[in-house]
């Protein structure tokens, strides 16, 4: 073989993030030294981001099957059956590092990337969600990052015309230099029109369509797999700019082409661009590939094969099509103003052969490269916690409450979600401010899907396994509360550096927690993403395994919001022990340590089934789960949303603080005027319910404690963002 041999030395290898043992593995596979192009390809294919080398061993243990699962992890996104010929495609993905370097473009391209993962499978995206974590508001970078990220998410989804229907956003100092931007996309596909990435058919053309390739993001995949240091800000060329208009054209043209019987395999060029998309398609189909790199459309002059193979320019797709469908393929793209280009074809060599200027410039065996990607069982060690008791601030209930509802994490996120078009496509029934899960109608049917994303990183920090279980349970509960039957989840595992023992411990334990909870709740994991090395100067983020849950509402009449009507009765479902460890209450009062609330899955399922059936059989006005901030926070959210007052009495048998602020699992608030029916049904199902008050008047009133007018309550809840962003008065 006559490969151009760019000199590779020890430094080049280190610069590519390849360890000594990995390099030896490369030598074994190739039986020769790689050239620079080949080394670059190994480095991205074996990066943490693409190979999951630190987590694969543990991810394999997740439950991924279930009666509704059509496609589990391994493809661009997971797919679940929702009855008839309809299926739901969904996944969550992180864009943490890019968003920290350039918040607007980083977040925008994150949204773009996850939507492509979904529409690549034949689906039309119907909803976007996001889970955001920022540093302390007082950190000088936070405001800028917040504004940039939110605008980036909004502008991208709004332009493509996919509603952004929900998500979460919170602040904690551990994210000061490592924000998290996790984007989730849900799409709708016909079961008989699903597209996969497995290439087949020797000689079949490989088609490139979308933006021209530039030098952006070269080595982005390795960046996403490396710790930050002071020089990160200077990693300029790695920033990718998003083009939502191109995304919209790709979406529409691919949808049109998918109606023809033309596509054999399709992949978006995401992380590691042309490299990972071509390798993945070929390795799934056991094929070889010939690529003619002179054909790759380039934005800049003099781009090298190395740059073309590693570029992460956004909004590009790769597909294998039937040879006799070339014309219709090119015509459809042309109609949409896009140029499709044949850049290679499939072979039977099992090798990736890259040609440039009529010369073979790189040749790699595809299967061995993918199959022998490193897999590590990294050492782990539990972190020891200091149990320093911080002096408790002595606060009145009312003061804690007001501090809570006007705190950055619990104040109204209206400033944020106003910037998202949550109605385009006209199937949004509730966005996630109106219901525990966002609810999107399946177009032209009476079915709807409920979608939510959740995680409480504070719980996960102290007890990653329990914290992850609680995140899964909360997602499940949110779906139940919105009237849905929970079906499956996607997960986004955000952690620090896995080469550190305590971080690896967190990762393993969190995955274990997800495994247990998803198994118990019959809530399989169908897709996901891992983001590691979220760490700056040795400080890592709180472990943040975000869970994105999806459920089905078989008939719109069971759709349930955070609603109430005047004179309704208010019930708590589930027993309140009043667990305050790690609660918002304790944090406000200065107690920073403790344990997360425990969870008993039998009880969770019992209460959940009760609520699910009560929604169908009792007739209720609204439902809301009890989570961060406890009963009092859930009640406040009900009042603020409905602009109605309530009167609540605290039961005698428990301490006031514990009852109001406790964060025990498995509880809901149900609002109904069918009191008798609800009680009777609870008795039959042996579920603990308690009537705690009524919807009444125009103030928020806890009897014998305090009363605050609705108007003030709303002002408290809205002021933080207003003041922080300095919205023009």
């Amino acid at each position: 073989m006559n490969l151009e041999n760019n000199l590779i030395n020890a430094k080049t290898i280190i610069d590519h993030g390849i360890s000594k043992s990995e390099y030896n593995r490369i030598l074994k596979i190739l039986k020769r030294e790689p050239n620079l192009l080949e080394l670059g390809i190994f480095s991205v294919m074996w990066s943490e981001h693409c190979s999951y080398k630190s987590t694969k061993k543990w991810l394999k243990t997740l439950p991924t099957n279930g009666e509704h699962v059509i496609c589990g992890p391994g493809e661009n996104a997971g797919i679940i059956d929702i009855g008839g010929n309809d299926a739901i495609v969904f996944k969550m993905e992180s864009h943490n590092h890019p968003s920290f370097i350039e918040p607007y473009q980083g977040a925008a391209t994150g949204v773009g990337g996850i939507m492509r993962d979904v529409f690549t499978m034949g689906a039309r995206p119907i909803a976007n969600l996001n889970s955001l974590r920022f540093g302390e508001p007082s950190n000088i970078k936070t405001k800028n990052l917040l504004q940039g990220v939110v605008k980036g998410i909004g502008d991208y989804g709004n332009c493509v015309g996919i509603p952004t229907v929900g998500g979460e956003c919170s602040f904690h100092k551990s994210y000061n230099n490592n924000i998290l931007v996790n984007a989730m996309c849900v799409g709708l596909v016909k079961k008989n029109k699903i597209f996969y990435s497995k290439a087949k058919g020797i000689g079949n053309p490989i088609i490139y369509v979308g933006s021209k390739t530039g030098r952006d993001g070269i080595h982005g995949a390795t960046m996403a797999s490396a710790e930050f240091d002071d020089t990160s800000i200077d990693q300029r060329p790695q920033v990718q700019v998003g083009d939502p208009f191109m995304e919209k054209l790709l979406l529409e043209s691919c949808q049109e082409l998918m109606k023809e019987d033309a596509i054999i395999a399709i992949q978006d060029m995401g992380a590691a661009g042309l490299t990972s998309s071509s390798f993945e398609m070929a390795s799934k189909g056991n094929c070889g590939v010939k690529l003619f790199l002179n054909e790759v459309p380039c934005r800049e002059s003099k781009m090298t094969p190395y740059e073309m193979m590693l570029s992460e320019t956004q909004e590009r797709m790769l597909m294998v099509i039937k040879p006799d469908k070339k014309k219709i393929t090119f015509d459809i793209f042309k109609k949409w103003g896009l140029e499709a280009i044949e850049i290679g074809h499939l072979t039977d060599t099992g090798k990736m052969q890259m040609y440039f200027n009529n010369r073979l410039v790189g040749e790699l065996p595809i299967k061995p490269l993918a199959d022998s990607a490193p897999e590590y069982d990294r050492p782990r060690k539990k972190k020891a916690f200091k149990t320093i008791k911080v002096k408790k601030r002595n606060l009145q209930i009312e003061n804690v409450f007001l501090e809570m509802i006007s705190s950055p994490n619990h104040s109204s996120k209206e400033w944020l979600f106003r910037q998202y078009d949550n109605m385009v496509m006209c199937d949004t029934i509730f966005s996630s401010e109106e219901s525990d899960a966002a609810i999107v109608r399946i177009h032209k049917t009476k079915k709807a899907v409920a979608i939510t994303c959740d995680c409480n990183p504070i719980f996960c920090y102290t007890d990653p396994k329990l914290g992850a279980k609680l995140a899964v349970a909360e997602s499940w509960r949110n779906l139940i509360a919105s009237g849905a039957k929970p079906l499956a989840v996607t997960d986004n595992l955000n952690f620090g550096n896995p080469e550190k023992k305590d971080v690896m411990y967190q990762i393993k334990k969190a995955i274990e927690g997800i495994k247990v909870a998803c198994t118990k709740l019959s809530f399989p994991v169908v897709s996901g993403n891992v983001s590691l090395y979220n760490e700056t100067k040795g400080k890592s983020i709180l472990p943040t395994p975000v869970i994105g849950g999806v459920g089905l509402i078989e008939d719109l009449k069971f759709v349930t919001g955070i609603n109430m009507k005047m004179d309704d009765s208010i019930f708590i479902i589930g027993y309140t022990k009043g667990h305050l460890g790690l609660s918002v209450y304790n944090q406000i009062c200065g107690y920073k340590y403790g344990k997360p609330p425990s969870i008993d899955f039998d009880n969770e399922i019992k209460n959940g089934n009760f609520v699910y059936n009560a929604i169908r059989e009792v007739g209720i006005s609204g439902c809301h789960d009890v989570s961060e901030g406890g009963i009092i926070m859930s009640l406040a959210e009900l009042c603020i949303k409905n602009k109605l007052g309530i009167q609540i009495s605290i039961p005698d048998e428990i301490k006031k603080e514990n009852w109001l602020f406790g964060e025990d699992s498995s509880r809901y608030i149900i609002i109904t005027n069918n009191e008798k029916k609800l009680l009777k049904y609870a008795k039959k199902m042996n579920v603990f319910v308690k009537n705690i008050g009524k919807v009444k008047g125009s103030s928020f009133k806890i009897i014998n404690e305090f009363e605050i007018s609705l108007k003030d309550l709303i002002t408290y809840n809205k002021q933080w963002f207003k003041n922080y962003i300095d919205i023009e008065k």
Binding site: E102, Q105, G214, R215, D216, R236, V239, V241, D243, T313
Partner: protein, 76 residues
């Protein structure tokens, strides 16, 4: 005294807007247009003299995004 700050994309950064404008211009019959690039400018009026370093600072921290943009200051 007025300074003008020019801000534009660094070379090599994707600028889909300029691409779209160029396409339209060509379609309108101006086939002699080879390339279009765009940028922003800010005119900053100061009450005191000799503040070039202030302007540089404002340009760097506020008016431009050093990750993807370059800026240039000229006295008007």
């Amino acid at each position: 005294m007025i300074y003008r700050v020019y801000v534009e994309f660094k070379p090599g950064i994707l600028d889909p807007e300029s691409e779209a404008i160029k396409r339209t211009v060509n379609q309108l019959g101006f086939s002699n247009v080879e390339n279009i690039s765009k940028g922003k400018f800010f005119d900053i009026e100061l009450s005191s003299n000799n503040c070039l370093s202030d302007i540089e600072k404002i340009s760097k921290e506020l008016l431009s995004n050093p990750v993807i943009e370059n800026f240039k200051v000229v006295k008007k």
